[in-house]
Amino acid sequence: MRRFLRPGHDPVRERLKRELFQFNKTVEHGFPHQPSALGYSPFLHLMAIGTRSGAIKLYGAPGVEFVGLHEENNTVMQIHFIPDQCQLVTLLDDNSLHLWSLKQHSGASELWEDHRFTLKGPPGSPPSAAQITAVLPHSSREVLYLGTESGNIFVVELPSFGVLEDRTITSEAVLRWIPEDYCNRRSCELVEALQEHPKNPDQILIGYSRGLIVLWDRQNNKVTHHFLGSQQLENLSWQRDGSKFISCHYDGSYTQWPVSNDNRQSLPLENLVPYEPMWDIHNGLPYIIFQGGMPRASYGDRHSISVIHGSQQIAFDFTSRVIDFFIIFSSEPTAEFDDPSAMVVLAEEELIVIDLKSAGWPAVHPPYLASLHCSAITCSHHVSNIPLKLWERIISAGSKQNVHFSNMPWPIDGGTNIAPDPPQRDLLLTGHEDGTVRFWDASGVCLHLLYKLSTVRVFLTDADPNDNMNTMGEDEWPPLRKVGTFDPYSDDPRLGIQKIYLCKYSGYLAVAGTAGQVLVMELNDEGAEHVVDHVEADLLQDQEGYRWKGHEKLKTRDGPVQFEAGFQPFVLVQCQPPAVVTSLALHSEWKLVAFGTSHGFGLFDHQQKRLVFVKCTLHPSDQLALEGPLSRVKSLKKSLRQSFRRIRRSRVSSRKRRGGANGKFDQGILQEMELAPVQRKIEARSAEDSFTGFVRTLYFADTFLRDSSRHCPSLWAGTNGGTVYAFCLRVPPAERRMDEPVRAEQAKEIQLMHRAPVVSILVLDGRNIPLPEPLEVAHDLSKSPDMQGSHQLLVVSEEQFKVFTLPKVSSKLKLKLTALEGCRVRKVMVANFGSCKTDDYNENDLAVLTNLGDIQIISLPFLKLQIRYPCIRKEDVSGIASCVFTKYGQGFYLISPSEFERFSLSTKWLVEPRCVVDVPEVSSNNHTHSRSVMENASRKSSQCLFSVTFPFPGVQEEVQVTMEKMVSKNYCTQYSMMTCKFFKYCSNMERCYFLLKKRESKKRN
C-alpha cells in the first residue's frame, strides 16, 4: 500500500519546496545555431543576430544580452536598427516586418516585440510586388523605406507601419528621369540597395539589380542624379562625406561614382576588379572592405572578406559561409573618412572580430558567442566553486595561448551589465572529438574560453600538429589568411575525449578517450618537456577466445614530449582492448584513478605509477562487447545513425522554437511517425544480454565495507547488467606512500535483480549527507563526514533508486521509477539546495534527468519525489545525453551542436542576464521614444504596451500577455492607465493578478 501514500500533502514541506526549488531556463551559451542575419547599432553599440528559427539575440558589453523569438519561427532575413533609437526592425522570410524595442522594467531592460506588419501590394498585383528586398530606416526615425521585387519603393510610417501611399516611389516615376535609350534596354527590376545620403537626409540612393542607380530627392519627389551601371548590382556604399559612393557587382568588380552638384549623369570614377592578376595600387579611400570578389573558378569554395587599406590587402578566409559583417567606427561625425576600428564578421559557425587598428589586423578574443562546436562536443564536466588559486593558474595558462589575439578591448560595448557578480567561480569542461578539452568560465552569463588543453601531443597521429599552418608565403595571391577556430573534421576519431575528472583542490586532471586511453595530468605553470609513462591495463586478463575487432589503440610518441604551460600528462594508462572508456573516477587524496570500459575496470596508483588491479566484468556470452562498437560493419551503421541523429538534431532544434500553428502541424507529423509499425520486444533482462559488463559508474568512498567498526577506503563500480562491485582498498599512510603498494580486495558483489544499468553509486554518512569529495575536508570546505552512525549505500539504476545499509548490504528503501512512470534515469547528481527565505537552511537532494527529458528532484535519504519539471523534449536525444548538473542545482544541455542552455532548479543560485541599455539623449527634434508608462498609455496608438513591474517573473509574462490582449481589443487607454496605477500601488501581487483576470473576464462577458 506504500505507493498510495504519496508525499506532498504536508503544507510545511510544500512551502519549503517552494522556497527551495524553482525551474528556469536562464540563458543560452555559445554560438546561435544557423544564424541568418546580422545588424548593428552604432548608436547603442549593440549587435543583433537573427537565426533561421526566428530568434533574435542582442549582444553588447559582456553580460548584456537579450533574446527575442518571432512567433512565426521563420528565418530572420534582415535586421535594421532604427537610428538613434532603442528599436529595431526585422524582416522575416515570410515577408513580415517586426518592430522590437528595448524597454526598462524595474531597472533592467527587456526586449519586446511591439508590432508586426506585412506589406500588401496594390490590388491585383502579383505577390512578388510586395516582396521586400531592401529596408532603409530613415534617419528621421519616422519612416521606413521598403524596396520590393517589383522595383517600387514603399514608405511606411513608424511605429505604426502605416503605408504612406502618396510617398511611394514607383519604378515608373524613376524611369521618367532616365534617358530613353537606357530605359528601353532594361527595366528597373528589383530594388537591390537603399542608402541614405550621409549628409543630406533628403537624398536616397536607390540601386536596382540590373545596374541602374539613382539619387532620389524625397522632398521634391524626383531623381536628382542617375548612374547608369551596366553590371548586375550587388550592393552600394557611401563614402562618409557623400561625395562618392561605391557599387559592387556580381562579376567581382566594384565601381566608384562621384556625386557632384553640376553633373546630373555621372560617369564612373574607376572600375576595379580586385582579384585580376594585373591590379593597380590606388590611393582612394583609406579602407575598402568587401565580401567575396574571388574568382569563382579557383576560389569559389572560400568564404572571404577582403580589406584594402592603401597598399595593404588581406583576404580573410573564414571557416564557414559569411552571413554578414559590419564595421565599427571610432571617428568624429565631422571626419572626412570613416575611421574603422574593428570589423565584425558573422560566419555561419562563428563570430570573428578583426582589430583594424593594430598592425597585422589580428583577431579579437570574443568574450561571448564562443563556438562550442569548433570540434564536436563529446562530453562535458562541471566543477563548482573553484578555489581562486587554481582559477588563476588556469587563466594564466590560457593567456599564454592567446598571445596571437589583439589586446583591443571588446568593441561592442553597449549597455551595462547590472547582474550581481557570480556567487562563485565555476568551470565547465568540454571534451571534443579532436582530443581537446576546453575550460570555460561558466560562472556568469558569458561562457568564456579560459584555456584549451590538447591531448594530441602524447600520440602519433597522421596529421602532425607541427607541419602546415601559416605556411602561406608572402607573395601568395590572393593574400588569403585563415581566421577562426571552427574545424569539425577530426583527424582521428580515436582521440575523442569521453570522460573528464578534475580535482579542483589538487589540480589533478584525468581525461579518458575513445581508444581506451586514460591520461593523468598535473597543472604546471611552466612549459616542460618530459616523457609520459605508459602502462597497459589488460582488462580481459586470462579470458580466452576473444577477438577485438574494433579500432587499434593510439600509437604513442617515444621520448620526451614538449608540453606548454597548463595541464601536462605524466602517465598514460592504455586499456586493452582499446574500447571507449565509459567511466572514470579520480581520488586525489589517495592518488588513485579508476577507469572502466565495456570489458571491465581497473585501478591505477598514479603516485607509484602502478596498476593496482583489473577486474573483467564480461559475461562469457557477450560477444558484442568483445568485438567492439567500432568494428567495421557496425561502425558504418553507427556513423549512419549518428549522421541521421545530427540531421534530426538540427531539425529538432529548429522545431523547438516553432510554436503556434506550425507546432500543431508538426505534432501531426510526429504522431504519424510514431504510428509506423515499429515493435518492441518485451523481455526481462538476463545475464546473457549484450554489454552487461559495460562499466557505467565508478565511485571512491571511505566507508564501512567490511564491518561496522572500521571504515576503509573503497572503490565501487556499477555495470550495465545491474551488478555493483565493491573493493576494499588499503592505501599506505602518506609517509610510506611510495614504499608500500596499494592493495585491493573484492569485498562485495551485488546483483540487482532487475538488472537495469547502474547509473550512479553514492554513500551517505551517518547524518544522511553524501560523503564529501576528496580533499574537501582537508581544505576546510566541508564538514568531515559522520563516521559514527551507520552509513548507507544508494544505488541508482536506470529504473530504480535503492538504499542499502552498510556494511551488511540489505535493502532498506527503494523508489521504482520505471515501473510506475515508464521513464528511465539518464543523469543523476546530488545537488545542494538553499532556501531563498532562510539563509542557513539547505538540503541535499538528487537532481534526476529522465529519458523523457523531465527533471525530477528526489529527496535524500527518503527518496520522495519532490517536484518534476519538463525540460528537454524527449525526442531530443542529444540534448538529454549532453545534460550536466552542477552541485548547486543548475545544469546545462546542448540545444544545438553549438549552444548550451543553462537552467536552474534552485531559487538561490540563478545566473541570468540582467542588464540595462541607456538611451543617450538625442538632442534633436521631435518625439523620442517615450519611456514613461503614463505617456505611453495616453498616446492614442493602439499598439502601446506598458510596463508593469512584478517581483515574480512568471506572473509578469502572463500579465504582459493579458495587457496585450486588452490593448488589442481596444479597451480604452484610460482603463489601462487605471490598471497601471492600481498595480503600482498594490503590493499584494497575487491579488492584483487575480483582480486583473477577473476584470478581464467581466469585460468579456
Binding site: D542, L611, F613, K681, E683, R685, C728, Q746, G822, A881
Partner: protein
C-alpha cells in the same frame, strides 16, 4: 485432484499421460484446470466417457511431476509455482482480461512484442480513433504464448495497474520490462469469443478470484488491482544477491613490475563459483522445480506434437538500440 473441463463442459480427471494429452489437445485456447482437495472430490461429477476409469490411479499434483501416489494430501500452495493467471475477473468488464505472468526464476523468455496502433473507442462524440498499444508478435515457446492468455493484436490497456493511455511505445516497453519479474497486463483480447462467461460455473483459472457470479457488466476498467497487493509484490520480488567477497581474505598477488602479464583477475573464478552456489542456495526449492516446470510448460503448449521448447535464439529480432 486435477480435473479439466472438456469441450462439452464436462469435468474430466487428469491422471495419466493419455488423458493429459487429450486435455491439452482438446483445449482451445484455454485449458480449464480444476484442482480440488482429494477429500472434497465428488467422483460422481466426472464425466463418463473418459478413456480411463482407473480411479485408484487418481493422483494429486506435485510440483515436480504430474503423477503421484494416491492418498497423499495435496501439498501446500507455496509448493506450486504459478506461471500465469487471470485475475480480477469480477471487477473488470467482460471484454477485458487481466493476466499475470510470473517469471521469477523461470528460464523461459517472456516472449512477446508490442507495437503502436489505433483502436476505436466510444466517446461522447461518437466513435473515435485513438492511439493504442497492441501485442504484435509472440515468440514461440515463450511464457506469453504458452499461457494461451495473450494473443497477437490484443490491445494493452494497463501495465501493473497503470494505464498506458497517453504513454509512448517506449515508455510502455520500459514499464513492462521493469515489471518483468511479475508482470500484470490488462488486455482487450482481439478475439472476444473466449471471454470468461461469468454466469458459468467456471471462474477461470485464477487461483484467487473466487466465485464471481455477481456480474458487473457495466463496470469500467478499474485502476484497482483487486488481487494484487503491492506488499505482496514486494515480497514476491526476488532480493538482490549480495556476495561477500571477504569471507576468506584473499590477497592479490604483489605486483612489482608494470607489465600487465603478472596481473591476474582478482577473485574472478572463485567469486563466480560462489555466485553459482549462492544462487543454488537461494532458490534451493525453486531451482529444483524449474526443470520440471519447464517440462510442464512446454508440454502444455497447444501444439499437439508436444514439441519441446524451441531453442532460444531460434527466432530473434533486434530490439531498439538504446543509446546511453
Amino acid at each position: 485432484m486435477i480435473g479439466y473441463a472438456d469441450v462439452h463442459g464436462d469435468l474430466l480427471p487428469i491422471n495419466n499421460d493419455d488423458n493429459f494429452f487429450k486435455a491439452v489437445s482438446s483445449a482451445h485456447p484455454l485449458l480449464r484446470v480444476f484442482i480440488q482437495r482429494q477429500d472434497e472430490v465428488d467422483y460422481s461429477n466426472f464425466g463418463t466417457n473418459t478413456l480411463s476409469r482407473k480411479k485408484k490411479a487418481l493422483v494429486t499434483l506435485r510440483n515436480d511431476n504430474l503423477r503421484r501416489r494416491p492418498h497423499i494430501n495435496i501439498s501446500m500452495p507455496h509448493d506450486f509455482r504459478p506461471v500465469s493467471s487471470i485475475i480480477d475477473v469480477d471487477i473488470l468488464p467482460e471484454t477485458h482480461r487481466r493476466v499475470r505472468l510470473y517469471r521469477h526464476g523461470c528460464e523461459k523468455p517472456l516472449g512477446f512484442y508490442i507495437r503502436d496502433g489505433t483502436s476505436v473507442r466510444v466517446t461522447p462524440h461518437g466513435l473515435e480513433k485513438v492511439p493504442g498499444i497492441f501485442i504484435s508478435r509472440m515468440v514461440p515457446g515463450g511464457l506469453a504464448e504458452s499461457t494461451g492468455l495473450l494473443a497477437v493484436n490484443d490491445e494493452v490497456l494497463e501495465v501493473n495497474g497503470i494505464e498506458v493511455a497517453g504513454k509512448t511505445l517506449d515508455q510502455v516497453t520500459d514499464m513492462m520490462i521493469a515489471n518483468s519479474h511479475n508482470l500484470i497486463i490488462t488486455v482487450k483480447p482481439a478475439n472476444q469469443r473466449n471471454n470468461i462467461i461469468r454466469s458459468s460455473r467456471m471462474s477461470g483459472s485464477s487461483g484467487q478470484s473466487t466465485d464471481s457470479t455477481a456480474s458487473h457488466h457495466s463496470l469500467p476498467t478499474s485502476h484497482v488491482l483487486q488481487n494484487f497487493h503491492p506488499d505482496e509484490m514486494e515480497s514476491d520480488e526476488e532480493a538482490d544477491i549480495v556476495i561477500e567477497g571477504g569471507l576468506e581474505p584473499q590477497h592479490i598477488p604483489k605486483l612489482h613490475s608494470l607489465t600487465s602479464s603478472s596481473l591476474s583477475r582478482i577473485n574472478g573464478s572463485s567469486l563466480s563459483h560462489r555466485l553459482q552456489r549462492d544462487l543454488v542456495l537461494n532458490n534451493n526449492s525453486g531451482r529444483e522445480s524449474n526443470g520440471s516446470i519447464h517440462k510442464l510448460l512446454s508440454s502444455l503448449k497447444t501444439d499437439p506434437r508436444h514439441s519441446l521448447v524451441i531453442p532460444r535464439g531460434g527466432i530473434e529480432e533486434d530490439g531498439t538500440v538504446i543509446t546511453l
